[in-house]
């Protein structure tokens, strides 16, 4: 389309010229394009862009749930919501918890997914589909339903501790202990997310030309060396994609504690998203908006950092 329009329109004619068949066609195309975009743009504007902007606006006010009938009567408080947030011990706690979850959860999920992908890609020939379907199955489950099962398994005298007892380990009260509640969340998150990354990594591994690996083998590189020196570097773009996807998801960490621990015990699984949701529940809309923007900035920053870190070595 673009090519054709350019070919027809005389090169000297300014784009904004409102006469001639080419301009008329361009106008017509634009009208058609707007009609095609209208349904999406309308709902995108109402349900995404407007909330996004008003949330930013709200974070500079003392908006409370009681202000809904008269949204423009609220007081402008500048950065007060943000300064108050960083002095709020519970919010700081929620940031630390989120970092814990992200810092341990992302490397762990990636390592497990990569191990599964490498094993499925190279080491076996049969039942590949069975394994792939099995490892991916947790991804399709509803978090509410899964939470029920996991709470049942993680009870102090539940299945996990029974299995641990069989090999002589006395398991903790997983969800009731401040030390073990977060590892439990991470375990569950790895279980639920490794499938997605495994599929992405599998696709990446299949894109690596076999000749390169074989060349390294001819040169005398061992299996581990081939993996570290050849496969991993060639997988860098895929690993980056996986890391970014996972961080956008994991930084928003919320549903697991919401359905498993209610953020407890003693706020040990309270995340930034969960803190925000609680403030929403208390009617502190201004505070909730400010907290959510802190999270947004964190997600954007981490994504940028990851792109830089992965790119520099190329």
């Amino acid at each position: 389309m673009t090519v054709l329009t350019r070919a027809v329109a005389p090169a000297a004619l300014p784009r904004s010229a409102g006469h001639g068949p080419a301009a008329a066609r361009r106008r017509r195309t634009a009208v058609v394009a707007y009609l095609f975009s209208l349904p999406f743009i309308a709902s995108f504007a109402i349900f995404m862009v407007f909330p996004l902007i008003s949330s930013l606006g709200m974070s500079f006010t003392d908006f409370r749930s009681t202000d809904i009938p008269t949204p423009f009567a609220v007081a402008f408080v500048g950065l007060d919501q943000y300064t108050a947030l960083f002095q709020n011990e519970q919010f700081v706690r929620s940031m630390v918890n989120t970092l814990y979850f992200v810092g341990v959860g992302i490397p762990l999920t990636m390592a497990v997914a990569l191990a599964l992908a490498v094993a499925l890609n190279g080491a076996i020939t049969r039942f590949r589909t069975v394994f792939r379907v099995g490892f991916y199955a947790p991804v399709v489950t509803s978090i509410v339903a899964v939470a029920v099962v996991w709470r049942f398994i993680l009870q102090p005298d539940g299945l996990l501790n029974t299995l641990l007892a069989a090999i002589g380990i006395t398991g903790p009260d997983w969800l009731g202990s401040t030390a073990w509640s977060m590892p439990s969340m991470i375990l569950m998150a790895v279980w639920r997310n490794m499938g997605t990354l495994m599929i992405i990594f599998l696709a990446g591994l299949q894109g690596i030309p076999q000749e390169v690996v074989e060349a390294a083998e001819v040169d005398g590189a061992g299996a581990w060396q081939r993996f570290v020196r050849v496969t991993l570097p060639m997988l860098r773009p895929t690993l980056l994609l996986g890391a970014v996807l996972l961080s956008v998801g994991y930084l928003q960490f919320f549903e697991e504690p919401f359905v498993m621990t209610k953020g407890g015990p003693l706020d040990s699984t309270l995340s930034i998203s969960y803190f925000t949701f609680n403030q929403f529940g208390f009617g502190n809309y201004g505070t909730a908006s400010a907290a959510s923007y802190v999270l947004f900035v964190a997600i954007a920053l981490l994504s940028i950092v990851q792109f830089r870190a992965f790119r520099t070595k190329e």
Binding site: M1, A33, Y34, F36, S37, P39, F40, I41, S43, F44, I46, F47, M48, V49, F50, P51, L52, S55, L116, A119, G122, A123, I124, F131, V133, F135, Y136, A137, P138, V139, V140, T141, S142, V144, A145, V148, F152, D157, L159, N193, I199, I200, A203, Q206, Q210, L245, V248, Q252, F254, F258, S273, T276, F277, F280, Y285, A288, A291, S292, F296, S303
Partner: protein
């Protein structure tokens, strides 16, 4: 399009087979080790499912028994009977289905239309729209949560189907997916139809859409899954019991004195998980192609 995909898949498979046979020739012990480790990992991954299915048909007394039993000693349907008796599972199930179906249909229509405009038509503001779509891919859900709730209450939509459906038709992911896919359709096909005198709507419906099968399938699956499992937003806007979706019903049932009523809870989990699990096993090829293509769950 379909045959090209198959050809790639076949060639990939043969490459892999070749590589693997050489690997096996080198170290049979490595292969045995890989199978053992993978089987162990698979069993560990699937234990929660097994435990859920087995637990849902055990009696409450047996569920409290320590140490726990593996196979049910007494087999019972009572836990499911609770959902079909005093809990109105029919309504919850219908709500989940209605919301998921309309979210999928709306997403397919909206996203493919705007995806076509962004990929193949020229219009002022195109770049702005696409940039906004890319930016909102990174926006955490909680950012829009509060104002979204205000918008929905202002529109008087609390506890209605539109409140459960409309906000999800604005998903940036679908637009991104469709735009990328349609961009790969050769311009010459569209130009040929245009020269033959076809109108834009006709081109879209008769030329572009029939070529979008794989992308539409992926988008439909991802959207259905997201809608079926969606829980936080429905929990907040479905405030009357006749509007509850399955996850909302289960999560509201599982608080307070029922929170350790594991028989009924596990039966509820089975009822939520089984439909998507069956769908997944039946369509696993499309699920996995879609994930690999978009890189997004």
């Amino acid at each position: 399009m379909g045959s090209a995909t198959t050809a790639t898949a076949v060639s990939e498979r043969s490459t892999r087979t070749r590589k693997v046979t050489s690997a096996r020739r080198r170290s049979p012990s490595g292969t045995v080790l890989a199978y053992t480790a993978l089987t162990f990992a698979l069993v560990a991954t699937l234990i929660p499912f097994a435990w859920m299915f087995l637990g849902s048909v055990k009696t409450e007394a047996e569920l409290r028994q320590r140490p726990p039993t593996w196979w049910p000693q007494t087999f019972t349907w009572d836990n499911f009977a609770a959902w079909f008796g005093r809990l109105d599972i029919g309504t919850f199930f219908m709500n989940s289905v209605v919301v998921a179906v309309f979210t999928v249909l709306g997403t397919l229509v909206f996203c493919s239309m705007v995806g076509y405009a962004l990929a193949k038509l020229d219009f002022p503001g195109k770049r702005l729209v696409f940039t906004l779509v890319l930016v909102t891919l990174m926006v955490p859900g909680v950012v829009t949560f509060v104002p979204l709730f205000v918008v929905v209450s202002k529109l008087g939509m609390v506890s209605t189907y539109p409140a459960l459906i409309l906000p999800f038709l604005a998903g940036p992911l679908g637009v991104f997916l469709m735009r990328q896919f349609i961009q790969d359709i050769p311009d010459s096909l569209i130009e040929a139809a245009r020269i033959d005198g076809a109108g834009e709507l006709r081109i879209f419906l008769r030329v572009v859409m029939p070529l979008c099968g794989p992308a539409l399938a992926t988008l439909a699956i991802l959207t259905f899954l997201g809608s079926w499992n969606n829980f936080l937003w429905p929990l907040v806007v479905a405030q009357s019991e006749d509007m509850y979706t399955l996850p909302v019903a289960l999560s509201l049932y599982s608080v307070g004195q029922n929170s350790t009523n594991y028989g009924v809870l596990l039966a509820g989990s089975v009822l939520i998980i089984t439909p998507v699990l069956l769908l997944f096993v039946a369509l696993q090829r499309y699920f996995i192609q879609g994930i690999a293509a978009t890189g997004i769950k």
